[in-house]
């Protein structure tokens, strides 16, 4: 059976579906008997979800306003560059 250390190394490939079947079976065999690794895997998954939801724009219905002077500077630069 793989160790906790090996399981940690395989998490990315496991979650992205890139872990070959034999390693995937050993990964799940370990999870079946190791609550500590189940907890780590679940917290890793939640970390990814937390990062996405904390940053994605639908969490901020009002995007930051572009300062008017910056809008003007951008448009002026375009005019100057022809």
């Amino acid at each position: 059976m793989i160790t906790c250390r090996e399981l940690y190394d395989f998490i990315h490939d496991y979650l992205s579906g890139e872990l070959p079947a034999p390693e995937g079976a050993r990964f799940e065999e370990h999870l079946a008997v190791c609550e500590s690794c189940v907890n780590y895997l679940e917290s890793y998954r939640k970390t990814v979800a937390l990062g996405k939801r904390a940053c994605l724009r639908d969490e901020d219905p009002v995007p930051p306003e572009v300062p008017e002077e910056l809008v003007r500077a951008i448009l002026d630069s375009r005019r100057r560059s022809g």
Binding site: T3, C4, R5, E6, Y8, I11, H12, D13, E35, S36, C37, V38, N39, Y40, E42, S43, Y44, K46, T47, V48, A49, L50, G51, K52, R53, A54, C55, L56, R57, D58, E59, D60, P61, P63, P64, E65, V66, P67, L70, V71, A73, I74, L75, S77, R78, R79, S81
Partner: protein, 216 residues
Amino acid sequence: MLRLPSVDEKAPREPGILPAEEEAALVRGLRRGDAAAFETVVRRFGGPMLAVARRFLPQTHDAEDALQDAFLSAFKAFAGFEGGSRLSTWLHRIVVNAALMKLRSRRRKPEESIDDLLPTFREDGHAADHPVPGWRTSAEENLERQETRQIVRSCIDRLPESYRNVLLLRDIEGFDTAETARLLDVNSNVVKIRLHRARQALRTLLNPRFAGARTP
């Protein structure tokens, strides 16, 4: 006469995304060099693009510089925009590129090691903090709270830059491994390794907040 979307019309549900017909009219205006079309693009897409730039460049002036660079690149390239992707998708890629260019142009300080944020193991292969406690609270539910979102974002900001960039590109901005590798000029294997380590490091930073806590 072609109708360009007005800047004061009710915004679509997703910021920056325009109905296809309006977008087509806008693109035609851009190709003609119509000044009103350029202004509409800046006002309509600028806010969401600035939000993207800020994720890579926490300093406001850096993010605003990147936004300006992105629009100037876009204005030069509009003639080549063939509509194979949505305008918002095309501009998203351009502002990400501009933000990465800005990061590269800054004087680089030696990057902090990520090692202290990665899991460690005992000789028998168990995690050093075995048994790892579960995150008993539904961490996602707490994202309803602005404070929790700020904490997650500040933890992402604490990641070493080369790892943070991969995490932002893959998990937040939605680029795949190959696209991320191209944007960062590294190979796909480096992207996978950095992404895994960045997630592990972020998990380490968030762990005190969520491990076993009922009300983080």
